[in-house]
Amino acid sequence: MLKSIDGLDENFRFLIMEVQNQIKATYEFVLAPTPSTYDKIFSKDDYIDNLKNVIENKCFMTLNQTKLNPEQMKYLRAVHVITINLERIGDYCVNIAKQMGYLTTPRFLENFDYKDSFLKIHATINEILPVLQKANLSGALSICRMEDELDGMYKENFDKIMIHLRIGRNVEDHITSLFIIRYLERIGDSLLNIGEALLFVIIGERIKIQQFQALQRNLSKSGLQGDVTDVDFLGIWGSRSGCRIARVEEKSPQARNSIFKEGNLRKIRQEKINLECWNEIFPGLVPKVFSYQEEGDNASLLTEFLSGCTLDEAIFNADGEILENALFIFEQTVQHIWEQTLSRHDMPTNMMRQVGDRMSSILQVHPEFMRPAMGMGSVTIPSLGELIKQCMDIEARYPAPFSVFIHGDFNINNIIYSHQEQKVYFIDLHRSQHADYVQDVSVFLVSNFRLPVLEQEARERITRTIMSFYAFAKAFAVENRDESFDIRLGLGVARSLYTSTRFELNRSFAQSMYNRSLFLMERLAEQSPQDLTNFTFPLEIFNY
């Protein structure tokens, strides 16, 4: 595949060969050290470094000068990653040779089982080229798995060394031996990187071995016959809150598309529980769970892929009538959910506490978003800290009069609209719970406001969506005798505007959110307790 790129293929083959030779020479040196083998290892290391530089130069030059198709691009990227890791393995060999000099006798290392590690490393490096050329998935996986095997061997030797160190026997030699076997373990880490780079070429996406194994297990549990290569990994949606999300498309005639999520155990587990909960209350509103797996601190989930567009896409792309229709269906659905799950009891909220929780990450992006106390003549201007404190007091006085089952992360892009089916769906539900519906309302409104578009017509559509949803939510509040709706909405929107600034690097837009947040807090804080009940949410703040 790389033949078109001037000699790169050849350089790469040489590099693999030289690193293999280096492993062999290091093994021989450890068995029976001689000055000539030592010199050979050192001079070979220079050669490996040079080869790495040559390959790296060619990779970058090719990127700069040649128009590559996506396949070639992936291949080049993998070659680059593999090269860097091979060179690192070469360096570890040199380090091992150097450490040998500190042993009182080279035979000391015979106390440990290191030979198998060398042989396995040698055999694994031997596999790199054939796996790459034949796009051999199981070969790539077995390269990845070598890390685990080498870790196991390291652990055995480590435990043995610890026993001797605890009783203080041959401390120096044991520490040197520990360094040597530790380098073998680190070679395993590099082999894992190489294996994952090979997976990238074969599957077409960056995927870690645990994620791959989790996907494989999920697919087989969900009933897919055959191998993971029978599916296409489409449009990786990147990483959200530390979870990896991808769309998986089966190639079979009865193709069933799905979404694969892998990441933090707590989040994924909660998402699965919530999906089941939603499916019980409102069947068909959220994706079906096809399978779920837990592995150590991580979990993975394979769910139904819902066709349609996210509601923000409807704002930008659909014609006016479709948007109206989408909003109508959306509001009807939300009303139905709220009515069905409403439970009348006071529900304290903690919106202002969330401001405090996110403060450090906000200030990391915008250090100036922490207004101190100020004064202008006879007018005193309260600091942000003071405003938050006053708003916390208000929040404590106005709990929600009832709870509903809320989405919990009611961003506009977590709502899918299917024009064909005339339905909306909810996604990303790991925060769903019985809580104040104003929590969802405020997040939804602000997620509209912060959409990164300035074009007037699009902004008008955004404002229309905001107005419509506010009117809908307000009507629900009136109908259900929620007298503090506007107060809680003021607090919720102030919270969401301020915390959203941490995702906004456009300074002027971030500043406008920050200013609006302070405005809301000031208006709430300046009211006397009697006047506060007449507070009306100033909807104009959403005009931009």
Binding site: M374, M376, G377, S512, L518, F519
Partner: protein, 89 residues
């Protein structure tokens, strides 16, 4: 507020609150003393004598801008600071 005698305040307000700020400044002009403070540091302005007073307005579509600028030099027996108040809406 920075060390070099600057006071900056940017916010979103409604007409009622802007009126409150303007009244505070108006009161300061009347008394010949406007104190501005931020985070513990303070600037004291003593408007008096002849002052330059500028008003500029820009209207472009739905965008509006009103700038009121007052600048003056302190009298010789006072510290040689240049005071300037600028209010933009």
């Amino acid at each position: 507020m920075s060390q070099d005698g600057k006071f900056e305040f940017e916010s979103v307000q409604d007409c009622l609150t802007i009126q409150k700020y303007l009244e505070a400044l108006q009161e300061g002009f009347l008394q010949g003393r406007i104190v501005l403070n931020s985070d513990g540091s303070e600037i004291c302005l003593n408007p008096g004598g002849f002052m330059k007073f500028e008003v500029s307005v820009k209207k472009k579509g739905a965008e509006n801008k009103l700038v009121i600028k007052v600048s003056w030099k302190d009298k010789r027996d006072e510290p040689p600071a240049t005071g300037e108040i600028s209010i933009t809406s």
